[in-house]
Subunit: 267 residues, 2 copies
């Protein structure tokens, strides 16, 4: 079992990801695809006069401020535009894809943060109208039901709170808990960089491999959105996934390149 | 088995539809929900500087001109905003809803019209870059798989062409072929009018019942979007559905009111 997360940043080659996945599936590989949509959400938010606001938590992690209006824009992009674009591409390649969000069948369930403490212009503030949270439970029977009947699940945030509210969750960490729940051997996290870099400005500074026990040390190289990928990798590996690979989604055969070790391999 | 189609025009009371469905499901009713999203698509199209263009075919039927850009807007609204809004409402009411489009698992498959002949300003024209079509096949095993495992399917256009292209299809006719494929007893088509009216300007002019054999006669009262509802009703009844009810989605308990005969009953 393989879980592939493909990011939503600029430069992602969705055609290559889908074509590579279709070929892998022909080789009897079982896979679930998870995707993001951050860049397109930024673009639509700007167009609709609701520019994105990125919150920086006191812990240093960043997240998109997600009030109900943002949540609707988020769903339009993630569940509408990107999810159906990927499902359509896969269907055209002969893959019987089914696209679902974490709300559907309570696929990804978790806690909505009732408030988050952020740092803005050097000052601490509390934000309360934010619909974000963290996935804690996966409806693996629904995933297995689809897989057992020949469907390839294509999953996207948002998730759902225990109270039944849609919540914005980090896609990398959602993919990590999914991979752990399915006892996947490998989690591939594709984005618009070659992997974890020592210097974000230098793509040749790739860190090729990290032993799990040293992940805390390497985490210092992770900036911005890469911080949650490292956190997700750690969570996946601590919960039974054998290998996590951060790799490049801008190249041809991005999944097979990742499986061949091109990227940052953590195990 | 009950198939409910809820329209996407202004005034629809989605809270009432979802609450009523939740109560019906507690009474061991089996149901599938289909929805539209036309009004919200018009609003988003305007906001994004791509105002809707309605084509009138030579046959008199109207449809939304759907080039690839419109298709993306359509998917954002139907599959993103409206589908996830309904699934979230149902989940909050304890209904384990799963939202899918016709692309997912090739749920609604059909032919894309390679060209359509339209009448514009009195002149005939041929439109070729339109992604519209008609549902001809339903993946009923996928619907049954979900129902048998306790999930309530919430379905939305677009459908998928045999070539794997997303296609805009009429939601009422898609619901009709779905109801026929599932051998549903009743198809309820809810919209923002009380049913088929003799005079569209007068809501008291409701036609309470129509025998199937007289549907052609009553079809003359159907204007605009109501034309395809009448066509869908005919197709459903000719293919084994026992009863079609056109009813009002602006009221409390809209589904049970329809089942009790409030609206236009065709059988």
């Amino acid at each position: 079992m393989l879980v592939i997360k493909v990011g939503g940043a600029q430069g992602i080659n969705y055609d290559a990801v889908c074509a590579d996945l279709a070929e892998l599936l022909q080789q009897k590989q079982t896979a679930v695809l998870v995707h993001g949509g951050s860049e397109e959400t930024n673009i639509l938010s700007e167009k609709l006069g609701k520019p994105p606001r990125i919150l920086t938590a006191a812990s240093g992690y960043t997240s998109r401020y997600t009030d109900r209006e943002t949540l609707e824009i988020f769903e339009m992009v993630y569940c509408g535009k990107i999810n159906k674009m990927i499902v359509e591409k896969l269907q055209r390649l002969g893959v019987n894809a089914v696209g679902l969000s974490g709300i559907d069948g309570r696929l990804w369930e978790g806690t909505r943060k009732s408030s988050i403490t952020i740092v803005e212009k050097g000052k601490r503030k509390i934000v309360r109208d934010d619909y974000t949270g963290r996935v804690e439970k996966v409806n693996t029977p629904l995933i297995r039901l689809l897989l057992d009947n020949g469907y390839v699940p294509v999953l996207t945030p948002p998730a759902i709170s225990y109270e039944g509210e849609a919540i914005n969750v980090d896609g990398d960490r959602a993919a990590a808990i999914l991979a752990a729940s399915l006892q996947a051997e490998t989690l591939v996290i594709l984005s618009n960089v070659p992997g974890l870099l020592r210097d974000v400005a230098d793509e040749t500074s790739l860190i090729p491999s990290i032993p799990l026990k040293e992940i805390e040390h390497f985490a210092e190289f992770a900036l911005g959105r890469m911080k949650k990928k490292v956190l997700g990798a750690k969570e996946a590996l601590q919960n039974g996934v054998q290998r996590v690979v951060f790799a490049d989604a801008r190249v041809e055969h991005p999944i097979r390149a990742a499986l061949a070790g091109h990227g940052t391999v953590i195990e």
